[in-house]
C-alpha cells in the first residue's frame, strides 16, 4: 500500500457554514498527525470554499483540498459521494475522519463501499499505533455494554465517523496558514436522482444539549412527567439544559430532543447531573465523557454511580429542590 501520508478531515458544510464536529475532528486529527508524522488536511466540497479556509487553518489543517461547484452548496448524497470518492482515489490518503452527523453518516458509508475501504462508526477514542502503523478505532458496541477497538489492516483509507462533542475543539490561533489545493470534479455526468425540496430548522430541536455547560437529566426514577419541573428548576438556576433518559422519552414524559445516550445525543458538559437515572449503559455511552458527573439516586447500587464523581444516595424529590435552593442562594 503506497498511500499519501495524510490524515483527512471531511469538512462538513452547508450554505458555507462549517459543522462544529469538523473542527473538533481537526483538533483530534492534530494529535494523530503528531503521533504518526502525517499531514493533517481538510477536504472541503462546497459552492464557495474561500470564506471557510481561515477557520480550517486556525483549527489545525495544514492543507485544504478545495472543491467548488454550485451543486455543492447543500448536501446531496450523489454529488458529494462523487466528489469524495474521486479525491480518495486520486490522492489516496491514509486516514479519513467524518462527523457522525446525518450528513457524515450518509457520505462515509457510501464512499467506503465505493472504494472497498474500512469504516468504523461512532468512535469515542482514536489512537495511532506507531509499531503497526495503523489507526486504532475504539467504539462502544451492544448499546455500550462493551468497548471494541477496530482496526483496518489491509484496506485504505482507514475511515471512521465520530459523534459531535466526543472531542474538544481547540483553536491554534487566528492567522494560521496552510496550503490550498484547488481540485475540479466534473459533476455533469452525475444524474440528479434526488432533489431537496425544503429544509426546516425546528425550535424543538434547538434544545441546546450539545453546547450546554450544565445539563440536568431526569430518568424513570423521577416518577412521572410532572416531576420534570424539579429538573427544569435546577437546570434553570445553573443556566443549563434539561436532558432525559431513553426510558422517560419512550414513556412520552418528555420529547426525544432531550434524550441523551447511544440512540440520543452525546454530550460533554462541565457538569452533568443525573437524577433518578439508573445508568443503563446506553445512557452512559452518551454522557460519560462529561467533565464532572453528579448522580442522585436512591439505589446505592445503581450503575450510574460507577461513572459518577459525586454520588448522592437518597430521595431525589428532596435532594433536587434542596440543591436548587442552595445554588440559588449562592448566586443571590
Amino acid at each position: 500500500m503506497s498511500t499519501k501520508k495524510e490524515i483527512w478531515i471531511y469538512a462538513e458544510q452547508e450554505n458555507g457554514k462549517l459543522a462544529g464536529v469538523s473542527l473538533e475532528l481537526l483538533s483530534e486529527g492534530q494529535k494523530l498527525a503528531e503521533k504518526s508524522g502525517y499531514t493533517l488536511c481538510a477536504l472541503l466540497p462546497s459552492a464557495d470554499g474561500k470564506p471557510m479556509h481561515q477557520e480550517l487553518f486556525n483549527y489545525g489543517a495544514k492543507k485544504i483540498y478545495n472543491i467548488e461547484d454550485p451543486k455543492l452548496n447543500t448536501y446531496q448524497n450523489d454529488y458529494f459521494a462523487k466528489v469524495v470518492d474521486t479525491l480518495l482515489k486520486s490522492e489516496e490518503p491514509e486516514i479519513v475522519l467524518y462527523g457522525a452527523s446525518t450528513i457524515g453518516r450518509s457520505i462515509a458509508p457510501t464512499v467506503a463501499v465505493m472504494g472497498w475501504a474500512g469504516l468504523t462508526a461512532d468512535c469515542t477514542e482514536l489512537d495511532y499505533d506507531t509499531e503497526r502503523n495503523i489507526l486504532l478505532q475504539t467504539r462502544p458496541a451492544f448499546g455500550g455494554n462493551i468497548m471494541a477497538t477496530i482496526i483496518c489492516p489491509d484496506h485504505r483509507p482507514q475511515m471512521a465517523t465520530v459523534r459531535s462533542n466526543v472531542f474538544k475543539k481547540e483553536k491554534l490561533g487566528e492567522n494560521e496558514t496552510g496550503e490550498i489545493i484547488n481540485v475540479t470534479v466534473d459533476l455533469s455526468g452525475v444524474k440528479e436522482r434526488m432533489k431537496r425540496v425544503e429544509t426546516v430548522e425546528e425550535e424543538a430541536n434547538m434544545v441546546d444539549l450539545k453546547g450546554a455547560d450544565f445539563i440536568v437529566s431526569g430518568g424513570r426514577g423521577i416518577g412521572g412527567p410532572e416531576n420534570f419541573d424539579k429538573i427544569e428548576a435546577l437546570a434553570g438556576v445553573l443556566g443549563g439544559a434539561v436532558g432525559a433518559s431513553r426510558a422517560t422519552v419512550d414513556a412520552e414524559w418528555i420529547s426525544h430532543h432531550h434524550q441523551v445516550g447511544q440512540t440520543g445525543k452525546t454530550v460533554c458538559p462541565l457538569i452533568y447531573v443525573a437524577c433518578g437515572i439508573s445508568g443503563a449503559i446506553q445512557h452512559l455511552a452518551g454522557m460519560q465523557s462529561s467533565e464532572m458527573i453528579i448522580a442522585i439516586n436512591k439505589d446505592a447500587d445503581a450503575p450510574i454511580f460507577d461513572v459518577a464523581d459525586f454520588g448522592l444516595v437518597g430521595d431525589l424529590h428532596a435532594i433536587v429542590p434542596e440543591l436548587t435552593k442552595q445554588i440559588a442562594a449562592l448566586k443571590a
Binding site: N77, D78, A81, T102, R105, S106, A108, P109, T110, A112, V113, M114, W116, A117, G118, L119, T120, A121, D122, L136, A141, F142, G143, G144, N145, I146, M147, T149, I150, I151, C152, P153, R193, M194, K195, V197, T199, V200, E201, N205, H256, T263, L270, I271, I281, Q282, Q288, I293, A300, F305, A308, D309, F310, G311, V313, G314, A318, L323, Q326, I327
Partner: protein, 261 residues
C-alpha cells in the same frame, strides 16, 4: 409496488453484559429480537402497502435462527420472506454484508421500487449497511426517514436532521433508512400468525448468490476487531449519604473547593 425490508435479528442489547475479568460477552439467555429500528422500517412498508397496494418482502442475512425474525415479520403482514444464510458469509463486517445482501436483492425477480432499512442495528450501531446496499444496488438513498409518500415519479421523504428536517423528492427505485419516530409497529394478526408458522421460507446461500470469494465473510471485511473490553469505571468518586440538606451542603462545599461553582 414492490417493497423489500431488510431486517436483522439482534440480541436484546440492553441485556448483554461483559465479564470484567475475561472480557467475554455474556450472551447466554439473552433473547433475540427483531432490531427495533427495522420494526419501524417494516411498519412503514406495511403502511405504504395498505395505502397503495403492492407487496412487502422481508429479507434477513444471518444464522439459520434468523428465520424466527422473518416469521414474526410475516405474522405482522409481510407477504414473503427470504433468509440469506451460509457459513461462508459469517464474520462479515458492514462492507461484506452490504455486498452479500445486494446480491440477494438482485436475485429477487420482481423489480423493486423501494428498499427499507432501520436507521441502524442496536448491536453494532453502525448505520452503514443501508447506505452500502443503496450504492451497490445502484439506487439513491435518504437516511433518517420519518415519513414517505408515493408520488408520480418516486417518493417524497421527510428526513430528520440534527437541526430539524429536510424534504426530498427521490426517484424510484430508492432506498431509505427509517427512524424510530416514524411510526409504531402494529400487533400481529392471529390468522397471519398461524400462516407464518407454516410458511416456507427459502434460504439463499453461497451457491444461490454466486459471490466473489474475496468479497464475502471475513475475507471481504476491511475492518477487524482488534480487542474488546469492559467500559472503564471511575475510581476517584465520593458517595454521600444522609439528610438531603446536609448532603447538598457537603456537595456544594466540595464543588467550591474545586472552584467549579
Amino acid at each position: 409496488m414492490n417493497i423489500v425490508v431488510c431486517i436483522k435479528q439482534v440480541p436484546d442489547s440492553d441485556k448483554v453484559t461483559i465479564d470484567r475479568e475475561t472480557n467475554r460477552l455474556n450472551r447466554a439467555g439473552v433473547p433475540s429480537i427483531i432490531n427495533p429500528f427495522d420494526e419501524n422500517a417494516l411498519e412503514m412498508a406495511l403502511q405504504l402497502k395498505d395505502k397503495n397496494g403492492g407487496k412487502v418482502t422481508v429479507i434477513s442475512m444471518g444464522p439459520p435462527q434468523a428465520d424466527e425474525a422473518l416469521r414474526t415479520a410475516l405474522s405482522l403482514g409481510a407477504d414473503e420472506a427470504i433468509l440469506v444464510s451460509d457459513r461462508k458469509f459469517g464474520g462479515a463486517d458492514t462492507w461484506a454484508t452490504s455486498y452479500t445482501l445486494t446480491l440477494a436483492l438482485k436475485k429477487i425477480e420482481e423489480p423493486i421500487d423501494l428498499i427499507l432499512f432501520g436507521k441502524q442495528a442496536i448491536d453494532g450501531d453502525t448505520a452503514q449497511v443501508g447506505p452500502g446496499v443503496a450504492h451497490f444496488f445502484g439506487v439513491p438513498m435518504v437516511t433518517y426517514a420519518k415519513e414517505c409518500e408515493l408520488t408520480d415519479e418516486g417518493f417524497r421523504v421527510k428526513q430528520v436532521t440534527d437541526q430539524g428536517y429536510n424534504i426530498w423528492d427521490i426517484e424510484k427505485p430508492a432506498a431509505l433508512t427509517v427512524v424510530k419516530e416514524a411510526n409504531e409497529l402494529r400487533m400481529p394478526n392471529l390468522r397471519k400468525k398461524l400462516a407464518a408458522k407454516k410458511a416456507v421460507i427459502p434460504t439463499w446461500g453461497y451457491d444461490d448468490l454466486n459471490p466473489e470469494d474475496e468479497k464475502i465473510g471475513l475475507a471481504g471485511s476491511p475492518t477487524k476487531v482488534n480487542k474488546v473490553f469492559a467500559p472503564p469505571i471511575k475510581l476517584n468518586k465520593e458517595i454521600l449519604t444522609g439528610e438531603p440538606a446536609e448532603m447538598v451542603k457537603e456537595l456544594i462545599s466540595k464543588l467550591r473547593e474545586k472552584k467549579i461553582i
